[in-house]
Amino acid sequence: MAMSIAHRVTGAALYAGSLLLAAWLIAAAFGPASYERAQWLAGSWLGRLALFGYTYALFHHMVGGVRHFIWDAGRGFEPEARMNLARMTPFVAGALTILAWIVGYAAR
Protein backbone atom coordinates (compact mmCIF):
# COMPACT_ATOMS: atom_id res chain seq x y z
CA MET A 1 0.00 0.00 0.00
CA ALA A 2 2.62 2.54 1.09
CA MET A 3 4.99 1.36 -1.67
CA SER A 4 2.20 1.65 -4.23
CA ILE A 5 1.74 5.32 -3.29
CA ALA A 6 5.52 5.81 -3.16
CA HIS A 7 5.73 4.48 -6.73
CA ARG A 8 3.33 7.23 -7.82
CA VAL A 9 5.05 9.93 -5.76
CA THR A 10 8.50 9.04 -7.13
CA GLY A 11 7.03 8.87 -10.64
CA ALA A 12 5.57 12.36 -10.21
CA ALA A 13 8.94 13.58 -8.84
CA LEU A 14 10.70 12.25 -11.96
CA TYR A 15 7.99 13.96 -14.04
CA ALA A 16 9.02 17.29 -12.45
CA GLY A 17 12.68 16.32 -12.75
CA SER A 18 12.33 15.94 -16.53
CA LEU A 19 11.87 19.72 -16.61
CA LEU A 20 15.25 20.16 -14.87
CA LEU A 21 16.93 17.78 -17.35
CA ALA A 22 15.45 19.74 -20.27
CA ALA A 23 16.56 23.03 -18.67
CA TRP A 24 20.14 21.74 -18.21
CA LEU A 25 20.34 20.47 -21.81
CA ILE A 26 18.96 23.76 -23.18
CA ALA A 27 21.41 25.76 -21.03
CA ALA A 28 24.29 23.68 -22.41
CA ALA A 29 22.97 24.12 -25.97
CA PHE A 30 22.88 27.93 -25.56
CA GLY A 31 26.63 28.16 -25.03
CA PRO A 32 29.47 28.50 -22.50
CA ALA A 33 27.97 31.31 -20.35
CA SER A 34 24.62 29.61 -19.72
CA TYR A 35 26.39 26.23 -19.33
CA GLU A 36 28.58 27.67 -16.56
CA ARG A 37 25.50 29.08 -14.80
CA ALA A 38 23.72 25.70 -15.04
CA GLN A 39 26.79 23.89 -13.70
CA TRP A 40 27.09 26.39 -10.83
CA LEU A 41 23.42 25.84 -9.94
CA ALA A 42 23.71 22.04 -10.20
CA GLY A 43 26.82 22.13 -7.98
CA SER A 44 25.27 24.38 -5.30
CA TRP A 45 23.91 22.72 -2.15
CA LEU A 46 20.36 23.19 -3.43
CA GLY A 47 21.29 21.69 -6.80
CA ARG A 48 23.02 18.74 -5.16
CA LEU A 49 19.99 18.19 -2.90
CA ALA A 50 17.70 18.16 -5.97
CA LEU A 51 20.06 15.79 -7.81
CA PHE A 52 20.25 13.48 -4.78
CA GLY A 53 16.44 13.48 -4.54
CA TYR A 54 16.20 12.79 -8.27
CA THR A 55 18.67 9.88 -7.97
CA TYR A 56 16.68 8.35 -5.10
CA ALA A 57 13.35 8.84 -6.90
CA LEU A 58 14.83 7.23 -10.03
CA PHE A 59 16.08 4.15 -8.15
CA HIS A 60 12.94 3.85 -6.01
CA HIS A 61 10.74 4.01 -9.12
CA MET A 62 13.08 1.55 -10.89
CA VAL A 63 12.94 -1.00 -8.05
CA GLY A 64 9.16 -0.51 -7.79
CA GLY A 65 8.95 -1.11 -11.54
CA VAL A 66 10.91 -4.36 -11.24
CA ARG A 67 8.41 -5.39 -8.53
CA HIS A 68 5.62 -4.79 -11.05
CA PHE A 69 7.47 -6.92 -13.63
CA ILE A 70 7.70 -9.75 -11.08
CA TRP A 71 3.92 -9.48 -10.57
CA ASP A 72 3.37 -9.34 -14.36
CA ALA A 73 5.21 -12.68 -14.54
CA GLY A 74 2.65 -14.07 -12.11
CA ARG A 75 5.06 -14.34 -9.18
CA GLY A 76 5.40 -12.72 -5.76
CA PHE A 77 1.68 -12.55 -4.92
CA GLU A 78 1.87 -14.59 -1.69
CA PRO A 79 1.36 -12.32 1.37
CA GLU A 80 4.88 -12.93 2.69
CA ALA A 81 6.61 -12.46 -0.67
CA ARG A 82 4.54 -9.34 -1.32
CA MET A 83 5.49 -7.76 2.01
CA ASN A 84 9.15 -8.69 1.60
CA LEU A 85 9.27 -7.07 -1.83
CA ALA A 86 7.64 -3.92 -0.43
CA ARG A 87 10.00 -3.76 2.59
CA MET A 88 13.09 -4.26 0.44
CA THR A 89 12.23 -1.45 -2.00
CA PRO A 90 13.47 1.60 0.00
CA PHE A 91 16.64 -0.22 1.15
CA VAL A 92 17.64 -1.38 -2.33
CA ALA A 93 16.83 2.08 -3.74
CA GLY A 94 18.82 3.77 -0.93
CA ALA A 95 21.82 1.47 -1.43
CA LEU A 96 21.84 2.08 -5.21
CA THR A 97 21.55 5.86 -4.63
CA ILE A 98 24.50 5.94 -2.23
CA LEU A 99 26.53 3.70 -4.56
CA ALA A 100 25.84 6.02 -7.52
CA TRP A 101 26.95 9.06 -5.47
CA ILE A 102 30.12 7.32 -4.27
CA VAL A 103 30.95 6.53 -7.91
CA GLY A 104 30.06 10.13 -8.83
CA TYR A 105 32.40 11.66 -6.25
CA ALA A 106 35.17 9.13 -6.95
CA ALA A 107 35.01 9.91 -10.70
CA ARG A 108 35.48 13.66 -10.24
Partner: protein, 130 residues
Protein backbone atom coordinates in the same frame (compact mmCIF):
# COMPACT_ATOMS: atom_id res chain seq x y z
CA UNK B 1 -22.32 -15.96 -20.80
CA UNK B 2 -24.01 -18.45 -23.11
CA UNK B 3 -22.97 -18.65 -26.71
CA UNK B 4 -24.86 -16.22 -28.94
CA UNK B 5 -26.22 -14.03 -26.12
CA UNK B 6 -23.31 -11.52 -26.10
CA UNK B 7 -24.12 -7.95 -27.07
CA UNK B 8 -20.63 -7.46 -28.51
CA UNK B 9 -20.23 -7.80 -32.26
CA UNK B 10 -17.74 -10.38 -33.58
CA UNK B 11 -15.63 -7.52 -35.01
CA UNK B 12 -15.57 -5.77 -31.62
CA UNK B 13 -14.34 -9.00 -29.98
CA UNK B 14 -11.58 -9.42 -32.53
CA UNK B 15 -10.38 -5.85 -32.12
CA UNK B 16 -10.55 -6.16 -28.33
CA UNK B 17 -10.63 -2.41 -27.82
CA UNK B 18 -13.77 -2.00 -25.68
CA UNK B 19 -15.87 1.16 -25.32
CA UNK B 20 -12.89 3.53 -24.80
CA UNK B 21 -11.28 2.39 -28.10
CA UNK B 22 -7.92 2.09 -26.38
CA UNK B 23 -7.81 -1.50 -25.11
CA UNK B 24 -4.62 -2.63 -23.41
CA UNK B 25 -2.25 -0.46 -25.44
CA UNK B 26 -1.34 1.87 -22.54
CA UNK B 27 -0.69 -1.10 -20.26
CA UNK B 28 1.62 -2.67 -22.84
CA UNK B 29 3.46 0.53 -23.82
CA UNK B 30 4.06 1.31 -20.13
CA UNK B 31 5.76 -2.12 -19.70
CA UNK B 32 7.71 -1.71 -22.93
CA UNK B 33 9.06 1.75 -22.02
CA UNK B 34 9.56 0.59 -18.43
CA UNK B 35 11.92 -2.18 -19.55
CA UNK B 36 13.72 0.27 -21.85
CA UNK B 37 14.04 2.85 -19.04
CA UNK B 38 15.46 0.22 -16.70
CA UNK B 39 18.55 0.03 -18.92
CA UNK B 40 18.55 3.60 -20.23
CA UNK B 41 18.41 5.07 -16.70
CA UNK B 42 21.73 3.40 -15.86
CA UNK B 43 23.24 4.80 -19.08
CA UNK B 44 21.80 8.24 -18.21
CA UNK B 45 23.32 8.16 -14.71
CA UNK B 46 26.69 7.11 -16.15
CA UNK B 47 26.56 10.07 -18.55
CA UNK B 48 25.62 12.50 -15.73
CA UNK B 49 28.48 11.16 -13.58
CA UNK B 50 30.87 11.50 -16.54
CA UNK B 51 29.69 15.13 -16.99
CA UNK B 52 30.33 16.28 -13.39
CA UNK B 53 33.01 18.91 -13.08
CA UNK B 54 33.64 19.18 -16.86
CA UNK B 55 34.23 22.58 -18.44
CA UNK B 56 32.17 23.58 -21.48
CA UNK B 57 34.56 22.27 -24.15
CA UNK B 58 34.98 18.81 -22.64
CA UNK B 59 31.25 18.54 -21.83
CA UNK B 60 30.49 19.36 -25.49
CA UNK B 61 33.03 16.76 -26.60
CA UNK B 62 31.29 14.08 -24.50
CA UNK B 63 27.78 15.08 -25.67
CA UNK B 64 28.96 15.05 -29.30
CA UNK B 65 29.86 11.36 -28.97
CA UNK B 66 27.28 9.51 -31.13
CA UNK B 67 26.71 6.74 -28.56
CA UNK B 68 26.13 9.30 -25.78
CA UNK B 69 23.74 11.31 -28.01
CA UNK B 70 21.87 8.12 -28.97
CA UNK B 71 21.47 6.94 -25.36
CA UNK B 72 20.27 10.39 -24.23
CA UNK B 73 17.79 10.53 -27.15
CA UNK B 74 16.37 7.09 -26.35
CA UNK B 75 16.11 7.95 -22.63
CA UNK B 76 14.27 11.22 -23.33
CA UNK B 77 11.82 9.66 -25.83
CA UNK B 78 11.11 6.52 -23.80
CA UNK B 79 10.92 8.59 -20.60
CA UNK B 80 8.49 11.13 -22.08
CA UNK B 81 6.11 8.38 -23.32
CA UNK B 82 6.35 6.54 -19.98
CA UNK B 83 5.74 9.63 -17.85
CA UNK B 84 2.79 10.73 -19.98
CA UNK B 85 0.97 7.42 -19.48
CA UNK B 86 1.95 7.25 -15.81
CA UNK B 87 0.63 10.75 -15.10
CA UNK B 88 -2.56 9.96 -17.04
CA UNK B 89 -3.19 7.00 -14.71
CA UNK B 90 -2.80 9.32 -11.70
CA UNK B 91 -5.15 11.89 -13.31
CA UNK B 92 -7.78 9.23 -14.07
CA UNK B 93 -7.66 8.07 -10.44
CA UNK B 94 -7.81 11.45 -8.69
CA UNK B 95 -9.46 13.98 -11.05
CA UNK B 96 -13.17 13.27 -11.33
CA UNK B 97 -14.76 16.36 -12.91
CA UNK B 98 -15.25 15.50 -16.58
CA UNK B 99 -14.26 18.93 -17.97
CA UNK B 100 -11.26 19.33 -15.69
CA UNK B 101 -10.15 15.78 -16.48
CA UNK B 102 -10.11 16.49 -20.22
CA UNK B 103 -8.13 19.72 -19.71
CA UNK B 104 -5.60 18.18 -17.30
CA UNK B 105 -5.14 15.12 -19.55
CA UNK B 106 -4.49 17.45 -22.47
CA UNK B 107 -2.04 19.56 -20.42
CA UNK B 108 -0.24 16.34 -19.42
CA UNK B 109 0.23 15.36 -23.07
CA UNK B 110 1.40 18.87 -24.00
CA UNK B 111 3.90 18.83 -21.10
CA UNK B 112 5.36 15.44 -22.06
CA UNK B 113 5.72 16.41 -25.73
CA UNK B 114 7.13 19.88 -24.96
CA UNK B 115 9.71 18.60 -22.46
CA UNK B 116 10.65 15.71 -24.75
CA UNK B 117 10.97 17.91 -27.85
CA UNK B 118 12.93 20.64 -26.01
CA UNK B 119 15.37 18.03 -24.67
CA UNK B 120 15.71 16.45 -28.12
CA UNK B 121 16.45 19.74 -29.87
CA UNK B 122 19.09 20.54 -27.23
CA UNK B 123 20.67 17.07 -27.61
CA UNK B 124 20.79 17.47 -31.42
CA UNK B 125 22.24 20.98 -31.14
CA UNK B 126 24.90 19.70 -28.74
CA UNK B 127 25.68 16.76 -31.01
CA UNK B 128 25.69 18.51 -34.41
CA UNK B 129 25.81 22.26 -33.75
CA UNK B 130 28.82 24.42 -33.11
Amino acid sequence: MAHGSSLRTPLGKVRGLGPARSGTEHFWVQRLTGVANLFLAFAFLAIVIALTGRDYASARALLANPVVALLLTLFVVSGAIHMRIGMQVIIEDYVHGEGVKVLVTMANTFFAIAVGAASLIAILKLAFGN
